[in-house]
Subunit: 175 residues, 2 copies
């Protein structure tokens, strides 16, 4: 009898250029790479756990064409944000179903790097996959990266997948 | 027909406590973890490429009970060093043969982090596995780690596997 599947947590986020529901280049790249190079034909040997962390907007206003006039409007906005996150995850879940890999998907709110490490502790995946934009040393000083934090602090092995050069947009901060 | 196997480069080093030919706790841990969680039953889907980098001794004298009186003595020592590296690799290669995973093994000389990244560029594995001693923030400042360097600079995805807490010796620098 085959052992329990290897549980891979994959952190995914939205594109900084195209926004929701599009996944970032590095998320999609890391996901496809994992299927091709790790899962391969052994689809029953793995389970993917997608985690999307939404960063709460500082002022709560990101829809410039909307008017928030009552507390209910804010609740609607929260539901909309959640719906966008679901659409992002739908892409990954649909792809898994197509190729027959079991999966689950989670949306959480907060600081991505902190939430990812917290969820690793809670869910205890066998390892964590994080895409990285591969920022240069200059950007790294100011931006830091989620992947670097996770490699140091996540309580499981971490697979860091840099975006390949031919996928990178001109401005490395775009993704 | 099955595609080409996924080529995994695994960086391995000797134990700082027991010395050659014993592999470090983190090397053995990373290797066994890779077999159990990635390769699983799909032994024909993967090829392991072991890389052991030997750090040249600063003064060339590490055998305190030996006398080096002629150039030939140094050549003998070099061969001895090489033989030790081979014995270290033998452990990993033997284990692969037992379970039917194809592999190859390399010994190189130099600064491990630089050599590993150089070999990644040359051999172009699908990803690199590095064990990490999981040093605390205090040690990290002074020591740096091979794994951190590789995550940033290696031109392929990098899987960092920290030594688990129950395998760690009292002094985190021992391995």
């Amino acid at each position: 009898m085959e052992r329990e599947p290897t549980r891979i947590m994959v952190a995914v986020n939205e594109s900084t250029i195209k926004g929701y529901p599009n996944a970032s280049i590095s998320s999609r790249g890391a996901f496809e790479w994992t299927l091709q190079k790790i899962v391969r034909s052994n689809t029953s040997g793995f389970k993917l756990i997608f985690l999307h962390v939404q960063v709460p907007d500082e002022d709560g206003f990101d829809d410039t064409d909307s008017i928030y006039a009552s507390p209910d409007d804010f609740k609607i906005m929260e539901r909309k944000d959640r719906a966008r996150g679901l659409h992002l995850l739908e892409y990954f879940v649909t792809r898994c179903h197509e190729i027959g890999v079991s999966c689950e998907a989670w949306i959480k709110q907060g600081d991505p790097k902190e939430v990812i490490c917290h969820e690793v502790k809670r869910v205890q995946p066998d390892f964590l996959v994080v895409g990285s934009r591969g920022l240069g040393p200059f950007q790294r000083v100011f931006v830091g990266t989620v992947s670097e934090f996770c490699v140091k602090h996540a309580e499981c092995p971490v697979l860091t997948i840099k975006r390949s050069a031919d996928e990178a947009p001109q401005d490395p901060v775009d993704d």
